[in-house]
Each structure stands twice: as structure tokens, then as C-alpha cells.
């Protein structure tokens, strides 16, 4: 099958792929070049990419997407337990079930629009979370989270003569363990694929219709298009992305906990998308990376690290700086995150992508020789 892409899209895709695959090298200088965080970048990048197809294109703000992530994780772990430690069936089933779950919830929730839609999705996700945490413990293993056990049946593995012996197995792709860097590359390839699919959707008539849904539903109806199936399709696709992301979380780390479905987790993906720039292709991935970076790196700075960082200062000043900085890192990393949200929204309503575009415009305006003006300023 041949498909057509514009040159600039192809270039973007190639750059994106190169950046993802070179992640371990590129991100090492900022302390993020280790497998777990790289995996998280890729996985939450996928989650946010999917969310962006719904929210960025159609404008439907779902507050319950974490439910699909959770369903994906549970599905993947159960696949490991019952069928095989190979990640392929796990992520296929996770994507499928994420999509199915999204189809059911979306079908009901899309009967309403605006904040009413948001609250419906929130309600479904919170119900899933609360039940998974308590009553559904036989399926979800509650607070502890669903884990692998040595005694799991794994019928496919046994059928193919794969024996893990006395140790707890970890997922592997035909012998390549899915932890560490191989795990990251697996997720990274998935991210590139997902980015590619997302790009196709953005450029397709379907994507155009989704943007039309956001722009003017009324006109769309009088233009002979049925909005509901379009919105539902977008909802299901984003649910599948979430399911895949959840599945990958389980692939790289075979444990599925209920808190993945909590409203704060749903809120997180909203923040990632808006922070990066909703409705843009790249923004959600960047937003996901930024938030995960803060969560993992900023929270790790402790007083010792700070004292060292300011060791070039005279002692009195050093203490002051350590005290001020310690409000924002370590146990204060939430403060930094909150302040970052505010700053971005106030000054860069289009998210980080708008920031990059402005810088680019500034540079071309400055050095590109005349004519280049600043990107259109924010709405207000």
C-alpha cells in the first residue's frame, strides 16, 4: 500500500522517530536518560497523544481517561497471567479492551456536551476506581495491585514449551526482556507508530471533521454530518491509545494498581495535553515528558543535593538559597508544578508548543532578515 505524505510531515516524523530513538543519549545530560523514565515518557506520550485526538480535535474534555489506562493495565497483566508473557498479545488485548470500555462509556457520555460530558466521564472513571480498589479486589487485587505469580497458568507459554522455572517471570518479546532499555525501545517504537497514526488522523478528512465538531457542531449537523459517531470514534480511538499506554505500563512493569484510574490521573493527562499545546501534533508528547520529568527528577532533589549545588556561594547566602530552593524541589515539587501550570496558561495559552513557535518566530524575525513578524499573540 502506498500512501501520500507531505514532505514536511515526513520530515517531522523522521525527526520525531530519531529523537525518540536517541532519547537515552539526548536526555542523559538533564538526568532523564535512564530506562524507567524514558519508558514513562514514551508511555505517557502515547496516552497524551490519544487524549489529544479527543480533546485537541473535538474539544470534548474527558475527565475519565485514566479509567481506560487502568483497564489496559489490568487486561495486560491478566493476559500475562493467563496466556503468555509475550507483550504482543498483552498490548493487543489491552488496546482492544481499552477501546471497548471507551465505546461503552463514550456512547453514554456523548449524549451530553460541555461540562456535563466531563462530569459524566469523571463519574464513570471514579466508579471504576472506587470499585477496583475495594469490591472488585478478586479481579484487581485492590490496593496491592494485580501482580504476577509463579503459579499463573500462562497456557500459551506452556503450549510453546516456555518454562520460567522457579523465578517470577518478566515479560519478554521472544527472549528480549521488556525491562530496561529494550523495554524503552519497545515503547518508543509504539510511540512512533502512535505518532504516525495520530498524524494521519490529523491530516485526514476524519480529522478535519473532528476539528469541525469543536468549531461548530450546529453547522456540522446542517451540513449533513452526524456529529455523534465522529465524536464517539474519536473517543474510542483515544480510549484505545489509553488502553495501549496502560498495557505498556504493565509490559515494562507487570503490576496494575487501581490508583491509575483515579481522577487525579485523568487530570494529569489533561494537564499534559494543555501544557504541551492541545490540538498540536507534538505538544502532548512534550507536555507528558515535562510533567513526568518534574515528578521524577524534581522530587528527588534533597537538601544534600542543594547544598552541593550552591557550594560556590558564601555560607550565609548558601543557606538562604538552599532554603528558598527547597520550597520548590524535593517535597515541594508540587509547588513548582502548580506554579508552572499557572505561568504557562497565563503567558503561553497555546502551551509549550506556542512557546517554541514564538521563539522560532523571534529568531527568524531577528536573524532571518526582515518580514518575519512574531507569531500571533495569545487570544487576550
Amino acid at each position: 500500500m502506498t500512501t501520500s505524505m507531505t514532505k514536511s510531515d515526513l520530515l517531522l516524523l523522521l525527526c520525531f522517530a530519531a529523537a525518540v530513538l536517541a532519547g537515552p543519549v539526548l536526555l542523559a545530560p538533564i538526568g532523564a536518560g535512564y530506562p524507567d523514565l524514558l519508558q514513562k515518557f514514551a508511555i505517557f506520550g502515547i496516552f497524551a497523544l490519544g487524549f489529544n485526538i479527543l480533546f485537541g480535535l473535538t474539544g470534548y474534555l474527558s475527565f475519565g481517561h485514566a479509567a481506560f489506562l487502568g483497564v489496559g493495565s489490568y487486561t495486560a497483566v491478566w493476559t500475562f497471567k493467563l496466556l503468555s508473557m509475550n507483550p504482543i498479545p498483552a498490548i493487543l488485548l489491552a488496546t482492544l479492551l481499552g477501546g471497548l470500555f471507551a465505546a461503552v462509556i463514550g456512547f453514554v457520555s456523548l449524549r451530553r456536551t460541555g461540562i456535563y460530558f466531563s462530569i459524566l466521564t469523571l463519574a464513570f472513571a471514579q466508579m471504576s476506581y472506587n470499585l477496583a480498589y475495594s469490591v472488585l479486589t478478586p479481579v484487581t487485587n485492590g490496593e496491592t495491585g494485580l501482580q504476577l505469580a509463579q503459579s499463573d497458568p500462562r497456557v500459551l507459554d506452556i503450549a510453546f514449551g516456555r518454562d520460567y522455572g522457579a523465578v517470577l517471570p518478566s515479560s519478554d518479546l521472544f527472549g528480549i526482556s521488556m525491562t530496561g532499555y529494550p523495554g524503552f525501545y519497545f515503547c518508543g517504537v509504539m510511540l512512533i507508530l502512535c505518532f504516525f497514526v495520530s498524524m494521519r488522523i490529523f491530516r485526514s478528512p476524519f480529522g478535519m471533521m473532528l476539528r469541525a465538531v469543536k468549531s461548530n457542531q450546529n453547522r456540522l449537523n446542517y451540513t449533513g454530518l452526524n456529529t455523534r459517531p465522529y465524536a464517539l470514534a474519536a473517543f474510542v480511538i483515544s480510549g484505545m491509545y489509553a488502553g495501549l499506554a496502560g498495557g505498556l505500563l504493565a509490559v515494562t512493569d507487570p503490576l496494575a494498581g487501581a490508583e491509575r484510574m483515579q481522577w487525579t490521573a485523568s487530570g494529569e493527562v489533561v494537564l499534559m495535553t494543555i501544557l504541551g499545546g492541545s490540538g498540536t501534533l507534538l505538544g502532548p508528547v512534550i507536555g507528558a515528558g515535562a510533567i513526568k520529568y518534574f515528578e521524577n527528577i524534581f522530587s528527588a532533589f534533597n537538601e544534600g543535593v542543594l547544598v552541593q549545588a550552591y557550594s560556590f556561594l558564601p555560607e550565609g547566602l548558601q543557606h538562604v538559597m538552599v532554603w528558598i530552593s527547597s520550597l520548590f524541589v524535593g517535597e515541594g515539587w508540587h509547588l513548582t508544578l502548580g506554579a508552572l501550570f499557572m505561568i504557562i496558561v497565563i503567558f503561553l495559552p497555546g502551551g509549550l508548543m506556542e512557546g517554541f513557535n514564538r521563539i522560532r518566530a523571534w529568531i527568524t524575525g531577528r536573524f532571518g532578515g526582515g518580514g518575519g513578524s512574531l507569531a500571533p499573540a495569545a487570544a487576550e
Binding site: 480533546f55 474539544g59 474534555l61 453514554v108 449524549r111 451530553r112 456536551t113 460541555g114 461540562i115 456535563y116 462530569i119 459524566l120 469523571l122 463519574a123 464513570f124 471514579q126 466508579m127 472506587n130 470499585l131 480498589y133 475495594s134 469490591v135 481522577w263 487525579t264 487530570g267 489533561v270 494537564l271 494543555i274 501544557l275 492541545s278 520550597l327 515541594g332 508540587h334 509547588l335 508544578l337 502548580g338 506554579a339 508552572l340 501550570f341 499557572m342 504557562i344 496558561v345 497565563i346 495559552p349 487570544a379 487576550e380
Partner: protein
């Protein structure tokens, strides 16, 4: 039967808190068109007004007693609150009544916080998309709670009711139950009456003052009112302050029921959004009715008799009701068409 009466009382109590928070949220929606995710933080700040008042009242004079040492070898500190040292018994009484006193102080403080929030941040977001309003107010909520955490720590801080209100009231006798069957803590009854009074006050204010009339007109049709040459923005600033005061009072009075901690706002945030939406965006009456209804139904769902039939129902009842109501009544109980549907 007495069990049901008790659960209704529980529900009214909870509902009072829900309704007070939701009332402010819905006023802000209705007038400013802003989705305020920092509203839970305002509730929390109100509660910490009470904590601060108590902390200030119990500022202690520290004297070292060299004859005694602590377990880690430093001289034992003899601590006496200044108010007791200065005012004697009256000081002790002030400490005892720190929660009611904090109510008086919370009003100007919360008004100030609300007004500065609106002037300093919210007003720039009137015409911005809801998603951005959510993000910026959520960011603000995080910042506020982290500041509180760095000042007061993460642990809950006990905030006892005044001794006079610590007892139980035999409520049942008044409505024909046997003595001792329907007894209820005095402070919780006070909280319920307090919430009714505040709700009544807000309604009366909007109904009977010219200021309120303008605000109501503004809720109905902001542009037209603006065209009449009325400075609607200034009034809306005050409305925001008012909503902050209502949330703050709800928080301050709630402290003897729920020991405050920095995170309590977030716990109430989602719930109060559900209440507002179930009541109908921008509907004052809806918020109140939904608040009390959800409170009572939540209490009923927690009864063993109900849980035996439907395990876990108490965990999801609020959300279940939200789903049912939104599917049967598209705009909540009392919502108007076209509000927040895009």
C-alpha cells in the same frame, strides 16, 4: 426508624458542607463564566483560618525549667499561652471558643483573598476557554495547598469545638422518639443550622438588594446588563469575594468535624463539582437542593441494610446519581439551557 432519622441528620450535615461549597462554585459559574478549580482550596483556606486563629491564640510564652530535662537532654520548656497569661480565665475561654472566633476573622480574610484572586488572576480568564480556566485555577489550588503544607505540615490538626457544643442533644424527643434514641452531636446540629443560615443569607442578599438584582440580571444576560452602563465587573469582583467567604466559612466551621489538613480542598473539589452539575450549572437553587440530596442519599447508601444488598454502593453512590440525573435531565436538576455546554 430512628436509624433513618439519624442518617437524614448525617445527610443534612454533609449536605450543608456540599451545598455551601457548591453555592459559591455555581455563583462563579453563573456570573463570571469561570470554572474555578481553586474553590476547594478556598474551603481549605477557610479551615486554616480557624487553625491560624487557634495557633495565634495559643502562642506560648516559653520558659526553660533547668531542673527538668526532656528525653533528649535539653531543659524542659514550660509553655503557657500568652492569652492565658494576660487574660487569665477569659483567655482560656477565648482559646476554647477559637472556632467561633475564627468565623468572625475568616469573613474579612476570605473576602480579601477572594477579591485579590479575582483581580489578580481570574479576571484575565473571563473570556478564555474553560480548559485554560481549569488549568490555571488548578495550578493555583496546588500552589495554595503547598504553601499551607509548608507552613502547617501535612498532618491533620485537631480543632475541637467549644466545650459547650461538645455534647450530644437528644433531638429525638422533640419529634416524638423515645429519649436516648435519636441523640446527635450539638456541633453538627449547629453546623447544619449555620449552613442553612448562610444559604438563606446569600439568597436574601441576591433577592432583596439592588446589588443582588444586578448580579442576578448579570447571570441571566451579562451583555445586556453591561450595555445599561452598569459597571458589572466591579460587582462581579465582590461576588467572587462573597463566594470565597461562603466557602471559607464552610471550611472554618467544618474543622471540628473534620480535622483540617492541606489536602482537604482537593477531596471536596470533585465532589462539589458533581454537586454543582447535578444541580445544574449556574443554578443557585439547584446547588442547594443537589447538595442536601446527595448528602442524604450518600448516608442512606452507607447503611448496612443497603450495603448488604449492593456491596460497595456507598463508594459510588454520588457518581451513580450524577450519571442517572444527567442522563434523565440533560442540564441537571435546575440548569438552564446553553450554560457551559460548549
Amino acid at each position: 426508624m430512628d436509624a433513618i432519622v439519624l442518617q437524614i441528620l448525617n445527610g443534612l450535615d454533609k449536605g450543608g458542607a456540599y451545598a455551601l461549597i457548591a453555592l459559591g462554585l455555581t455563583i462563579i459559574f453563573g456570573t463570571l463564566g469561570v470554572v474555578n478549580f481553586a474553590h476547594g482550596a478556598l474551603f481549605m483556606l477557610g479551615a486554616f483560618c480557624a487553625v491560624t486563629v487557634k495557633a495565634l491564640l495559643s502562642l506560648e510564652k516559653v520558659a526553660l525549667d533547668p531542673t527538668q530535662t526532656t528525653a533528649w537532654g535539653t531543659p524542659l520548656e514550660i509553655r503557657t499561652p500568652y492569652v492565658e497569661a494576660w487574660f487569665g480565665d477569659f483567655g482560656t475561654a477565648m482559646l476554647n471558643y477559637s472556632v467561633p472566633i475564627s468565623i468572625l476573622i475568616a469573613i474579612p480574610v476570605m473576602l480579601l483573598i477572594g477579591v485579590s484572586m479575582e483581580r489578580g488572576l481570574i479576571r484575565f480568564f473571563y473570556k478564555r476557554p474553560h480548559a485554560e480556566q481549569i488549568l490555571v485555577t488548578f495550578g493555583l489550588a496546588i500552589v495554595l495547598q503547598e504553601i499551607v503544607k509548608s507552613l502547617f505540615g501535612a498532618n491533620p490538626i485537631p480543632q475541637p469545638a467549644p466545650d459547650a457544643a461538645k455534647g450530644m442533644i437528644d433531638f429525638g424527643v422533640a419529634i416524638g422518639f423515645q429519649a436516648g434514641n435519636v441523640v446527635y452531636p450539638a456541633w453538627r446540629l449547629i453546623y447544619f443550622l449555620f449552613s442553612v443560615a448562610i444559604i438563606g443569607g446569600v439568597f436574601a442578599f441576591l433577592q432583596f438588594t439592588t446589588f443582588g438584582m444586578v448580579v442576578r440580571a448579570g447571570m441571566a444576560d451579562r451583555e445586556t446588563v453591561g450595555l445599561l452602563g452598569i459597571d458589572i465587573d466591579r460587582r462581579f469582583t465582590i461576588v467572587f469575594g462573597m463566594a470565597a467567604v461562603v466557602a471559607g466559612l464552610a471550611g472554618a466551621m467544618y474543622t471540628p468535624i473534620l480535622s483540617p489538613d492541606y489536602h482537604m480542598g482537593m477531596d471536596f473539589l470533585v465532589l462539589s463539582f458533581v454537586v454543582v452539575v447535578v444541580g445544574g450549572m449556574g443554578s443557585l437553587g439547584g446547588a442547594v437542593v443537589a447538595g442536601f440530596t446527595l448528602g442524604i442519599l450518600q448516608s442512606f447508601a452507607s447503611m448496612n441494610e443497603v450495603k448488604d444488598i449492593l456491596p460497595g454502593i456507598d463508594q459510588i453512590i454520588i457518581y451513580l446519581i450524577a450519571v442517572v440525573i444527567l442522563l434523565t435531565r440533560p442540564r441537571g436538576l435546575m440548569g438552564r439551557k446553553g450554560v457551559m455546554e460548549h
